[in-house]
């Protein structure tokens, strides 16, 4: 049943595990701040037992996020069909997007500071409608630029007006 969101007649490329690393660092920062806030706020108001309890809850949340991020990272994959780009992702909320190359308006390659530090980038394909959600995070920079060039070339070749 899994293959409904990832038809097996094309070869799927997974994204880099570094995506999970980046997201975990992100989560660590957020949960870290949350933990400090919880510890201090609860500790000062209700007593330090509660502060430590709050800390534990936040730590539990972080552990859960750690697992979810790993699962989510493994779910991201994309495939280049002859005429379309396929992007599939999600475990709880699953999605498969099919974008014809000819519909492409422009391609974005983006990398934030954290992503750059880990050496990954995000490629996003834009069509004439913002509803199209064709984003591939966690690509090696070389792969990202290869994909960008290939997509623009294919988009040019198959370009189609509105």
């Amino acid at each position: 049943m899994d293959d409904l969101f990832a038809p097996s007649d094309v070869s799927w490329t997974p994204v880099s595990p570094k995506l999970a690393a980046v997201r975990r660092v992100n989560a660590a920062i957020i949960f870290g701040v949350l933990a400090i806030v919880a510890l201090i706020a609860l500790g000062m108001s209700l007593g330090w037992t509660y502060g430590v309890l709050g800390l534990l809850v936040v730590a539990g949340g972080f552990a859960w996020a750690w697992v979810l991020i790993g699962r989510n990272q493994r779910s991201w994959k994309y495939a280049e069909r002859e005429d379309e780009l396929l992007v599939s992702h999600g475990i709880m909320f699953r999605q498969l997007v099919v974008v014809p190359y000819g519909r492409m308006q422009f391609v974005d390659v983006a990398a934030g500071p954290l992503e750059r530090a880990f050496g990954i980038a995000t490629v996003e394909l834009h069509t004439a409608t913002p509803a199209t959600d064709a984003k591939i995070p966690g690509l090696h920079p070389d792969e990202a630029s290869r994909l960008r060039d290939r997509l623009s070339a294919l988009g040019q070749a198959q370009a189609w007006g509105l």
């Binding site: 409904l4 014809p100 308006q105 409608t129 199209t132 189609w160």
Partner: protein, 496 residues
């Protein structure tokens, strides 16, 4: 001002200008090429322009003066204040009018404006998609009109030039049309003779349709309940809710009856043309090649009578969110019509389309756990030209998407849907009212639909590409003026 323009390469842009000579020297020097009729150099707009533009300002100033208690007791001060405001307003308006000039060059229309910050806007003729003459209410009282140029990739206010006298605007429009599209465009210019109307929606039906629409019925119901509750049950708390409810009654009526007053549909060379409005007459042309999809809405009570509303997605008409444009209405093809009228209109927009012949696939029965009533109305269907999705039981929405206009296809599934082995399929079209989502279909059916739709879209693109040869020059002298004038994506982005 002399003729030469510094090669207008960009569509528009602020260019610093030397101080304009205030007297446009009427050239006595003989020109080699005779200037086309109507050519003007640095002409000003109509002198009444500042007043027509700023009438609201004057009214507000006057009302504020009259209503202000403390000022009324001190009449002298009020008089001076009012005078100062009026004089200041007139002066500002006059200055802005004096420094606004437009002229036609060989390949563009050029508008200089602003007295503190000079601004020059150059709109190239070949970037003008459509030219309309519009008459807002106040302008109409004075017999004036503004020229609206639809510029590819531009916002709404980019191509406005106001005000002219109505005749002048019409003449300028023909002239611009001649420059922009060539001789043939003027010969069958849609505006010169008002085309024979195909269909006129009577005001009584507009009113009736609005009164029976779901929002108004619900609001009236709420209002009645509120009045009963207040008077009989002595229940005063909910009185504040009355205002939004009242608004819910009045606003749609106003919008429908005034905004769509005298809705007329006619057929011209450029496609279907709509005309509507009581105060602010609006005209829209629907070029047949640019229809992306359409939405048929049938509120609960309308279904009993057999009425429905038809809206369209049109490339280029819908506002550009990047410009802060909120005009996402798309085009209204028919505010309310009975079944025969709707069928007739659909046949004109998409020849060969017959919704009743398309086989619809219902959502499976287990959807009732998710949508106890609405599940009966969820369906999709496709033929070789369009994909149709139906949803909603209070207000039924039928979305129609053309295969060769499909942008992308998405299959999605949430955790609850997963338990029931259901999934949604969304067909994305450019911004507009159409929202084609086949909700809660069986997973296998949905997955098959995604693949099938991708294939259909690819096939449709190929066949349409080979037959229509749409991918041509940005500004082809289209022989019939009706073929899809959409430029290639690369061109569109460069126009922004």
């Amino acid at each position: 001002m002399t003729e030469p323009t510094p090669g207008p390469t960009g569509p528009a842009g602020p260019v610093t200008e030397p101080t304009p000579s205030s007297t446009p020297s009427p050239t006595a020097e003989p020109q080699t090429a005779p200037p086309p009729a109507g050519e003007k150099t640095g002409a000003r707009l109509h002198p009444l322009t500042p007043f027509v533009k700023g009438w609201g300002y004057f009214v507000v100033a006057a009302v504020a003066m009259v209503n202000n208690e403390s000022l009324r007791t001190n009449l002298e001060l009020a008089g001076i204040g009012l005078l100062a405001v009026l004089v200041g307003g007139i002066l500002l308006g006059a200055l802005s009018w004096w420094f606004t000039k437009w002229q036609l060059t060989d390949e563009a229309i050029r508008v200089d404006s602003g007295f503190l910050f000079r601004r020059t806007r150059i709109i190239r003729f070949d970037r003008i998609q459509a030219i309309d003459v519009a008459q807002p209410f106040v302008a109409r009282l004075f017999g004036m009109a503004e020229l609206r140029m639809d510029v590819a990739g531009g916002g709404k206010s980019d191509g406005k030039l106001s005000y002219f006298t109505y005749d002048e605007a019409g003449k300028l429009r023909s002239l611009l049309l001649l420059r922009a599209k060539g001789q043939h465009a003027v010969e069958h210019d849609p505006q010169q003779p008002e085309p024979e109307p195909l269909l006129v929606v009577p005001t009584s039906r507009l009113l009736g349709a609005t009164l029976l629409s779901s929002t108004v019925v619900a609001s009236v119901g709420g209002l009645v309940w509120l009045i009963v509750a207040t008077t009989v049950l002595d229940f005063h708390i909910g009185l504040f809710a009355g205002l939004p409810l009242l608004l819910g009654v009045v606003q749609p009526i106003w919008k429908q009856v005034v905004g769509n007053h005298g809705f007329t549909l006619s057929e011209t060379h450029d496609g279907l043309r709509t005309k509507r409005g009581l105060f602010d007459v609006q005209r829209q042309t629907v070029p047949p090649g640019r229809v992306q999809g359409l939405l048929i809405t049938e509120p609960l009570i309308w279904r009993l009578i057999g009425w429905s509303r038809v809206e369209l997605d049109i490339a280029g008409l819908v506002g550009n969110p990047a410009d802060g444009d909120d005009a996402r209405e798309g085009a209204q093809l028919l505010p309310v019509g009975d079944r025969a009228e709707v069928a007739g209109v659909l046949a004109r927009v998409l020849p060969g389309l017959d919704l009743s012949r398309i086989e619809m696939h219902q959502a499976p029965e287990r959807v009732k756990w998710l949508r106890p009533i609405g599940w009966r109305y969820l369906a999709y269907g496709a033929d070789d030209q369009v994909l149709v999705t139906v949803r909603g039981w209070v207000s039924r929405q039928t979305s129609v998407v053309l295969h060769h206009k499909t942008q992308s296809v998405a299959l999605s599934q949430g955790p609850i849907q997963r338990r029931f082995r259901l999934a949604n399929v969304a067909i994305h079209t450019p911004l507009g009212p159409t929202n084609a989502v086949a909700l809660h279909q069986d997973v296998n059916v949905a997955a098959a639909l995604v693949t099938a739709q991708a294939d259909r879209a690819r096939e449709a693109r190929r066949t349409a590409a080979s037959s229509a040869a749409v991918h041509t020059q940005p500004n082809p002298p289209s022989p019939d003026g009706s073929s899809s004038s959409a430029a290639s994506p690369a061109d569109d982005s460069s126009a922004m």
